[in-house]
Each structure stands twice: as C-alpha cells, then as structure tokens.
Amino acid sequence: MSTQATGARLAWEQFWAIIWKDLRSELRTRQAWMSMGLFALLALVVFNFAFDLRVENLATVGPGALWIAFIFASILGLSRNITVEQDRGPMDRLLIAPVDRAVVYLAKVVGNVIVISVIEVVALPIFAMLYNLPIIQPAIAPILLLGTLGVAAVGTQFAALAANTRARELLTPLLIFPLIVPVVIGAVRATEALLTPIHDDAPWLGLLVAFDVIFLSVSAITFQFVVEE
C-alpha cells in the first residue's frame, strides 16, 4: 500500500502539479505565447503610430496603451488556457480527483500570471523603445505583478464560466472587461506616476492589492460552482 500525502501538504503538491502541467503544455505548444505576444506587439506599434501623430506627451498616454495591450493579450491567453481543458474534457478527469477547487483555481491563476508575465517581460523593452519612456526600472515590477494578478484572477474565473457556453468568445471579454476596470485604472495611474514628474498621492498600488485580495478570495471560494455542474 502506497503512503499518501494528505491535508495541506497534499493541497500544496496538487497546486504545484497543476502549475507544472499547465506550463509544461504551454512550453511545448507556445500557442498562447505566440498569439499573446504578437497581439501585444501589434497593439503597441499601432498605438505608437496613432499617438505619434496626435499626442505631445507620450508619458501620459503611454501607460494606457501599455496596459490595454497587456490586458487584451492576456484575455486571449486566459480564454485559451481554460477552454482547451474544458473543451477536450481533461477538466472532468481533474475534477474527479480529490483536489480542492480553490487549489485548482489558485494554481490556474498563478500559471496564467507566469504565462502573461513572460509576454510583459518581452514587450516592456519594446514599449520603452517605441515610446522612448524610462519604464525599465525596479518600481514597475510590483505594478506589473499586481495588475497581472488582478487580470488573471478575474480572467481565470470568468473564462471558466464562459467556457461552458456557446458564445464564449463573446462572453469572455464581456464578462471580464467591466470587472477589471479598477485594475486598469490602478495599473495605468500607478505606471503614469512612475513616468511623469506630477506628484500623485493616490494609493494606486493599494487599490490593486485590495482588488487582488478580494477577487482572489471570493473566486477561490466560488470556483467550484463555476466548474462543477
């Protein structure tokens, strides 16, 4: 008889196993990375051309372009990650195993954050070059992490919800975008404060932290009702 991990230790092992499985699959296909990366790059280039013609101060507009590119690209990857698993049925087999649904959700969120972060790390120097902005600095890291976590927290939950519907391509962005408005505002303003000399005392990072904590907590509890019948 084999010994078995139980309780918190089992949950911890399951958590990392799900992340490992998702990243391993993505490393082999690179489908999400390719589509997300190309989309982010194209969006940044197109925004650059548009703003070059009309805007004098790129530092005030650039952060908006950056986060719109990241968020739209993220939705592509998030939607694919969960849809592939639910469409082809392995999610059913995973749900038969004695794994807490909150563990599945949190592992999926972390996996998505890692996948999105790779795109951000690649796109950020391109953004800095195109917009000629000093965005490569340590202070951008917590903004990127908290903003990405917020997008992944909402996106994972609602991509799973929409995956069971016929109109998921339409529903996924419709469900996600209104909910991530606080993330967009917080991330854009925090990035803008980093790039402009204007002093902004508003706690944008605090807003992102609060959003992430609330949404991760609520979603971890409710994810079982999304993926189970």
Binding site: A5, E13, Q14, A17, R24, R28, R93, P98
Partner: protein, 261 residues
C-alpha cells in the same frame, strides 16, 4: 417501448447480506433543464460485485456514472458510494472512485508517463513513478511512455485512460463504455482488469453496448430505459436475446419484478 409501462425493479436481491452496499441509489432523480434523465432510481450493489449497466442511447447510463463519480449532482434523492453521499461526502467519494469514460480526455501535450504522474500527484501517491511504469507496461504503452498523447491513436489514448482510472487502485471503478475504440488486445486487457478486480473483491460498474462481454464480466446487471430501471438482477439470469429485444423497443422480462417488467 414506453418506459412508463415498466414496473419498478425490485429491491436489490442481496442487499440484506451486506450492511453497506458498494453503491446505493435512493430515489435518485437527475434532470437537465427540467428534462428528467434519471427518474427515481432505487438500487443497491452489494460489496465485491461487478455490475454491468445496459440501456439504449439516452437511457441515462452515463449520467448515472457521472453522478456516482461526483461530476453530476442529483436533482433529488441520493447516491451513495460505500455509504458515502456523493454530494455531502464528495471529497471522500473521489478518493474511492476511479472513472474511465468513453472519451480518453488525456492531456495531449503531456506524455503518457507525465499524464499518469500528474494524476498520481492529484491522489497524493508517493510511489507515482513506480505505479506509472507498471501501469504503462500493463496497458502495453511502455514503448510510448515518453511520447506526447497528441500523437496517440484513439485506442492508445483509451488504454492510457484506463491506466489513469486505476492509478490510485480505486475501491470502486466506474467504466463508461471503456471498450469504445479498443482493439482486440486492449479489449482482452480490459476484461483481465475487470476479472482481476472481481477476484480481489473490488467493485466495478461497467456500461457497454457489447452485451455478451458485459454479461460475461459481471455478477449483476442493471438495465435502464428512459431513466428508469427495467431490469435489476443477476447477470446470469439475463440472456442476450432479451436485452436485444429491449434495445429493439420491446418490454423486458425481469425475474426481480416477478414477471413482465
């Protein structure tokens, strides 16, 4: 055949001999969008028995197995596995149950070994690598252990699904038309697996459209028609011709109901 005309199946024939049936259904109802798929099933499978479930398409076989596997919640009534409620004790039931569907549903970008290792981790097994090796050998996939499932044929993927379903050596194995897409060698493997479990006193519930195979493997048989039990009794007492008539839309004679059901 009008399922409404069928008499309800009798109480399970050996239920009294075991205090905790392996599987118990208590007026189990399952509906989808107000459309009933399972209509008040009551049944008990004694411990250590192998059950085959027959029924035409749409009879509710898959829904019943998905309910027992905790993938579908009963609309009314209860389903119990080893005395544990599939809703209230879902976590415990999941530890006890193994499930193999008619679709392999493996992670296609992972190798066969990685698929088994992943599920071994989900069950918290410490000897996952060893089990994976043994199971791959057993299902004839040792040579393809390091190949991605994407490159597998339907039959190979189904063999892997079979290995995944028993990676944790489940007390109750649910097989939903597992013979779909299997070649002769794999079918023989499946039959050996069910026979071995039977010898070990472990419960297996199997649905299949292959009547002779189902009756050969099982101790007990259950026949569903439009969500109702049309026959519940010993597999040996049910002949192939009777079930073929059922599939053809005729009424079935059930010894458990004391005559024409």
């Amino acid at each position: 055949m009008n399922a409404q005309m069928l008499q309800p199946a009798a109480q399970p024939h050996t239920a009294a001999t075991t205090p905790t049936p392996a599987i118990a259904l208590e007026r189990l109802v399952k509906s989808f969008d107000a459309r009933p798929v399972l209509r008040g099933l009551s049944y008990a499978l004694p411990a250590g028995r192998t059950l085959v479930i027959f029924g035409p398409n749409g009879a509710g076989k898959t829904t019943l197995l998905r309910t027992l596997a905790t993938l579908a919640r009963p609309t009314a009534g209860r389903a119990l596995v080893a005395g544990l409620d599939v809703v209230a004790d879902a976590g415990e039931v999941r530890r006890l149950v193994g499930y193999v569907g008619h679709q392999p549903h493996a992670y296609e970008e992972l190798t066969a070994r990685e698929n088994l290792l992943f599920f071994a981790r989900m069950y918290g097994l410490r000897d996952g690598a060893e089990r994976a090796s043994k199971l791959l050998e057993r299902v004839g996939l040792r040579a393809r252990a390091s190949d991605r499932v994407r490159a597998f044929s339907r039959g190979q993927a189904q063999r892997l699904a079979l290995a995944r379903g028993i990676v944790h050596d489940p007390a109750v194995l649910l097989l939903d038309e597992p013979d779909t897409g299997l070649d002769q060698e794999a079918l023989a493997l499946l039959e050996r697996l069910v026979a071995e479990r039977r010898e070990r006193g472990l419960e297996t519930v199997l649905t299949t459209h292959h009547l002779e195979r189902g009756l050969r493997l099982a101790d007990d048989a259950l026949t569903l028609v439009r969500g109702r039990i049309a026959y519940a009794g010993a597999a040996a007492a049910l002949d192939v011709a009777a079930i073929e008539r059922l599939y053809a839309g005729e009424r079935l004679t059930s010894p458990e109901t004391g005559g024409a059901a």
